[in-house]
């Protein structure tokens, strides 16, 4: 059983062109894969040739180190959600005509963007307890990442909200919707769609930045790699495993982000 459309044969010349184009694409993909394999292989070979790589050790310790990826992802997922919420409030406050809200959110953004993430992490873990706020390592790490990314994403959300056409707001107002409802039901949902690709980018960046919270003893990927490495004087191997996992995670999440972006592009715009 062939469907009617499948029986339609393209004319010979067209078929030839299609086939040649297909072949060229295959060639391109093949070369692409080959170059990657060759370069990564060369890199691994170079490392192996230093005579400093104990593969047996790596096999033994890989499960322990890779296990830290769970913590890394968990921390990042929670942090990106909190950062998004912070960013929404930050963006609304930054666009507000209320001087107090504007001042608070501007200070927030300026302070966070003007100081290193590592300093913020230390501050939350070591300084806050002296003011009576004692957070365990994981919550402190999540707070630091959320706080930091929230500030950067405030600007993203502000741009996103401003990118929603003014007519949308007017149409909602003309329907008698109060200001808060206009924001919540009409402007924000559209702004979120606009900024989702940027959130995805930030999530991927956060996966890598989250390595910094190893310094406050959150037992994520890098922490585990360091502890396993120093135990047997094999930090290099341990870091290789961690790096591979970070890389893999970013590849995976980039893939999903690309698909999401494509779907959004195809969507209702």
């Amino acid at each position: 059983m062939t469907t009617p459309s499948a029986t339609i044969q393209p004319p010979p010349l067209l078929a030839e062109i299609i086939e040649s184009q297909r072949q060229r694409r295959r060639w391109f993909r093949g070369q692409f894969a080959l170059v990657w394999v060759a370069l990564v292989g060369a890199l691994l070979a170079a490392l192996w040739a230093t005579d400093n790589i104990d593969t047996e050790w790596m096999v033994t310790w890989a499960p322990f180190i890779v296990g830290g990826a769970g913590t890394t992802i968990l921390v990042c997922v929670i942090s990106i959600v909190l950062a998004t919420l912070l960013a929404i409030f930050g963006a609304i406050a930054r666009m507000s005509s209320n001087a107090i809200l504007f001042a608070i959110s501007s200070l927030y953004v300026s302070l966070v963007r003007g100081t290193p993430l590592l300093v913020q992490i230390y501050f939350i873990f070591f300084a806050l307890p002296q003011m009576g706020i004692r957070l365990d390592a994981v919550p402190a790490g999540i707070l630091a990442l959320s706080f930091n990314y929230g500030a950067y994403m405030t600007e993203i959300f502000r741009a996103g909200i401003q990118a929603v056409p003014g007519g949308q707001r007017e149409a909602a107002q003309a329907l008698g919707m109060p200001e808060a409802l206009v924001m919540r039901r009409v402007v924000l949902p559209q702004a979120v769609r606009i900024v989702i690709p940027a959130i995805g980018n930030d999530f991927i960046a956060m996966i890598k930045d989250s390595a910094l919270i190893s310094t406050i003893a959150v037992q994520e990927l890098l922490w585990r790699a360091q502890r396993a490495g120093t135990r047997d004087f094999k930090t290099l191997q341990a870091l290789l495993i961690a790096a591979a996992v970070y890389w893999l995670l970013t590849i995976i999440f980039s893939y999903f982000q690309d698909r999401l972006e494509q779907r959004m592009a195809r969507g209702d715009r």
Binding site: A49, G229, T235
Partner: protein, 315 residues
Amino acid sequence: MFNMRRLALLPAAALILAACQSGSGESPDASASADASANPTESGHGMADVPNVVCVGEATTYLDWLAGDLAISEADPIEEPSDAGNPDDLLALIKERGEIRVSTDPNYAPQSFVEPDGSFVGFDIDVATEIAERLGVDVKFETPDWDAITAGNWSERWDISVGSMTITEDRKEILSFTQPYYYTPAQLAASTASGVTGVEDLPFELPGGAEATTLPTDANCAEAIRAGREEFALWISSSTTVQGAIDEGVPIIAVGDPVFAEPLSVAIDKSGPPHDELLYEINNIIGEMHDDGTLTELSNEWYGLDLTEGTASSE
């Protein structure tokens, strides 16, 4: 067109080639350094090149020692608290919780390190577990960085440190110490490539004559030397860690006798809740563990020798 394609593959091939060459180029170096260490009399001419820098782990007493201001101290005498049964004492809180939280930085084999299943093992871990058992509570390990432990202000994140911490005058300002549960000798080590084999080869007077460079933890120094970094050839750590590195094949040798011995104790944060009773109780437990041979047994198990007597002090 096809040439272009082949060209694209060239860098990859070049990389592989380079890798192979660096691999084969490694062996002459290695044998050369092996020669140097095997033939100490010949090493004299290389000595002028030994940098005046010693690598140490961050926040360690070795750093103070190199700076010439290490003031090793003794634990203050601990007397039985008069108001026994104070419900606010850390001891009461721990008993009520049924769990004692012990800080350990599993970054220091063989005192404290991780196993592939994620559990913590080591001499300190065993000592802490034994203390908890004798207190009649469970033990839970917290894993802050070492400098967070020595800095005090624990914010009640954990109750005690069983982390081979040296009693120093500075630390006594912020932490309470029990009697030492063992003593480790501090040991200088040098890369075999440096040609340094004895104290007389050192390009400086110790202590105080050398500059220090810090890496996050002791073991990183050994690894940096193994990786071929040349900005420092000397390292100071505990003799047990140095021996561990030598056993792992790090190209270093111990230089001279241990330079000083460190009394290592359980510590409690002075900025935390009152802990007179806890300190007294743990101090007693350590005394018992000395007396009944538990500590000696553990020391033999983890270090292959008995480090529980203060006799290992300098010279």
